[in-house]
């Protein structure tokens, strides 16, 4: 198991390296730079800015410098001051090494467009919003999907089954950009019970979270149904019935618990997908999260923000899958990794 985890973490490093290289090449191949404005920038100013942000060095040097800023950790003493070029995402105090000593890691650099902020500041400001939205959507997906799937499986091939699976197909077929305006209109304009867009008050999260979670709830329902149906066909369920247990005990105690194993394991990647997939929802509902910021950053050629976001999200996706594999082995003793 330990060997398996180490190998996967090494693989994660390879993946992030390739992802960062592809992103870097693509970004730099796009015409236009982060300092261009509509009125144009005088040549000397442009050159000074490029000098300052190391953009006139050979591309390979820039790439290596960027990587080493992120990858190489440093231990700083009392002389450390947080500046635009020395802002680390991970800061751990090391009191045993002396006053104000700290382990600092992952410097994503300054934002090239918003020149008073670092990429880390933008992360700490916008990411929590996307994570909140993603978590709320996950709750919606589970709260709707799992009960729907259980009911459908227990009443297999009845109208209950057909109508729940009908809801599931609707959920899969309705993209967010369809769902969002309909909900905005009904709740925001006709009934006027929820704000149609915006962020800040608790009620703002309801519509975007429901929009984002509903499509995934359909997948959860299908998965729960399929898994429960499969478990109900297992021998140990027949044994449980044969010993004369009531249907309620068979379903609740024996079947349900095991049927939820695949459901629990998709929660990890599902959460990752929800958090990293909030672009459309954030754009439509005017939610100031990372997704909306990313779209703007690509347009602005804010190289450091774009690189940072992609790397962070890719690491998140790969780690979520790793966690699933570990949880899977823990929940189902029949699974062993070598």
């Amino acid at each position: 198991m330990a060997k398996f985890i180490v190998r996967r973490l090494l693989w994660l490093a390879v993946v992030l390296l390739v992802v960062s290289a592809i992103t870097f090449v693509l970004l730099r191949a796009v015409p236009g730079g982060p300092f261009q404005t509509e009125r144009g920038v005088p040549e000397p100013v442009l050159r000074a800015l490029e000098e300052k942000f190391n953009l006139n060095a050979p591309l390979i040097d820039q790439y290596l410098k960027y990587l080493s800023d992120i990858l190489v950790p440093t231990i700083t003493g009392p002389e450390y001051r947080r500046t635009l070029t020395t802002d680390f995402l991970i800061n751990i105090d090391l009191p045993f090494l002396g006053e104000e000593a700290a382990f600092r890691w992952m410097n994503f650099g300054p934002s090239l467009r918003v020149r008073s902020r670092t990429v880390n500041m933008i992360f700490t400001e916008n990411l929590p919003i996307s994570i909140q939205l993603g978590s709320a959507a996950l709750v919606v997906a589970i709260a709707i999907g799992v009960p729907l799937g259980i009911v459908a499986a227990l009443r297999r091939n009845t109208w209950v089954d057909y109508s729940s699976m009908g809801v599931a197909i609707i959920g899969v077929s309705v993209p967010i950009i369809v769902m969002a305006p309909i909900l905005q209109y009904i709740f925001g304009a006709v009934w006027k019970v929820l704000p149609a867009s915006g962020w800040g008050r608790p009620e703002h999260i309801i519509l975007p979270a429901f929009t984002l979670g509903f499509a995934q709830s359909a997948l959860m329902a299908r998965l729960t149904r399929a898994s429960l149906l499969q478990v109900l066909n297992e021998d140990y369920i027949r044994t449980a019935r044969a010993k004369g247990l009531s249907e309620r005990v068979v379903v609740l105690l024996h079947a349900l618990k095991n049927s939820l194993i695949p459901v629990v394991t998709v929660i990890g990647p599902l959460f990752a997908i929800l958090v990293t997939g909030t672009f459309v929802t954030e754009t439509i509902f005017a939610v100031p999260g990372m997704g909306r910021y990313f779209v703007t950053s690509v347009g602005n050629r804010d190289f450091t923000v774009v690189m940072g976001t992609i790397l962070l999200y890719a690491a998140f996706l790969v780690l979520a899958n790793l966690v699933v594999d570990i949880v899977y082995a823990w929940l189902d003793p029949r699974i062993r990794y070598t």
Binding site: V18, V30, I169, S173, P175, A196, T276, G299, I310
Partner: protein
């Protein structure tokens, strides 16, 4: 030949009938039969066929050209729309909405006919629905066949590439890719590859680059599926038989393996079509998709949702169109899966 014929005439009619009973049914024929018994799949198929006809005959059906603007008709709706959307109170009843009954479902902020734009917009969604799978299959099939058939280091290398592509957050990647395509084909050196791509793209109203973007980000699933299917087909006796009869590698791949793994591929791609359609809608929504004045349902929803509380019809009608076409492809995909592999019925 004539001998057989005479024999057939001479033999009693009962025998001839028996022979027609014995006649086998191919996998595809029986699958089609099962598909046509599935009512939801047929509804989906009918919706898709109607949509295709609408897209082909758009210039005939559309009441107005999609780019024709009329500022006197800005944000107007016909009377019936105000009954569907109760918040749209017409001016005569003390509201803010202008009535113009000559527009079937209303006009947008530039005074363009919404119905005509939805009709022309179907072209984009349907093109993506058909070209997306073609690109994904073309790339994925090549990679998957090579990986599955040759095995060894070819397999390892190709599957590692697929793994890395999977780690890329798809939406981030496609945004990045589209930005790259859009801006590097804008003012390229004449005669370069970018210039040709840009030329093609402008001729297609911005659709060409969407196809490439979607294709580059969605072949991995197909590659994995093909590889798995090839690995299992490769060990079957009929492949061994074909090889022992001297069939060479390309023949084995395309004549013997490919036809036998086609079913699962078709099902997988049909079920992915809605994803392609929603990618296009999303890209057009954030302005990286089709280019003005070409209408797409995604860009119409984007424009309409800015005024969703005052003029809901501008976003909700294209949204409904998108909903119906995705619904149709989902039903057809589910039906195809049940028809081609009856064992998978009821299992997701």
């Amino acid at each position: 030949m004539s001998a057989v014929k005479t024999q057939g005439q001479v033999s009693p009619s009962g025998v001839a009938q028996l022979e027609t009973h014995i006649k086998g049914e191919s996998l595809w024929a029986s699958a089609m039969k099962r598909l046509f018994r599935n009512r939801l799949a047929i509804i989906g198929l009918i919706i898709i066929i109607v949509a295709i006809l609408i897209a082909i005959f758009a210039p005939v059906i559309a009441p107005r050209p999609f780019q024709q603007t009329d500022f006197r008709a800005k944000d107007t709706v016909p009377e019936w729309v105000t009954y569907v959307f109760p918040s749209m109170v017409p001016k005569e009843r003390g509201g803010y909405v202008d009535i113009d009954n000559s527009y079937a479902i209303g006009a947008d902020t530039l005074g363009r006919d919404l119905l005509s734009r939805i009709i022309y917009g179907s072209r984009v969604s349907l093109m993506v629905a058909f070209v997306g799978p073609v690109v994904a299959i073309a790339v994925g099939l090549g990679v998957g066949l090579a990986a599955g058939y040759f095995g060894g280091w070819v397999d390892t290398l190709l599957m590692r590439i697929v793994d890395i592509m999977y780690a890329f957050p798809t939406l981030l990647f496609i945004i990045l890719l589209m930005t790259f395509f859009r801006f590097s084909t804008e003012a390229p050196e004449p005669g370069s590859l970018q210039a040709i791509l840009g030329e093609l793209d402008r001729a297609w109203g911005g659709m060409f680059l969407i196809f490439i973007g979607i294709g580059l980000t969605s072949w991995m699933q197909m590659a994995r599926l093909v590889r798995g299917q090839v690995l299992s087909a490769r060990e079957k006796e009929y492949i061994e038989a074909a090889r022992s009869m001297g069939v060479r590698t390309p023949g084995l791949m395309f004549r013997h393996i490919l036809p036998n793994i086609l079913g699962p591929l078709i099902v997988a791609e049909t079920l992915t079509i809605p994803t392609y359609i929603s990618y296009e809608a999303f890209l057009s929504f954030i302005g990286l998709g089709v280019q003005q004045p070409q209408p797409s349902w995604g860009s119409m929803i984007a424009e309409g949702s800015r005024a969703i509380t005052s003029y809901p019809n501008q976003a909700i009608f294209p949204a409904l169109a998108l909903f119906f076409i995705m619904f149709a492809f989902n039903f057809l995909g589910d039906g195809l899966r049940d028809a081609l592999d009856p064992r998978m019925r009821g299992v997701d």
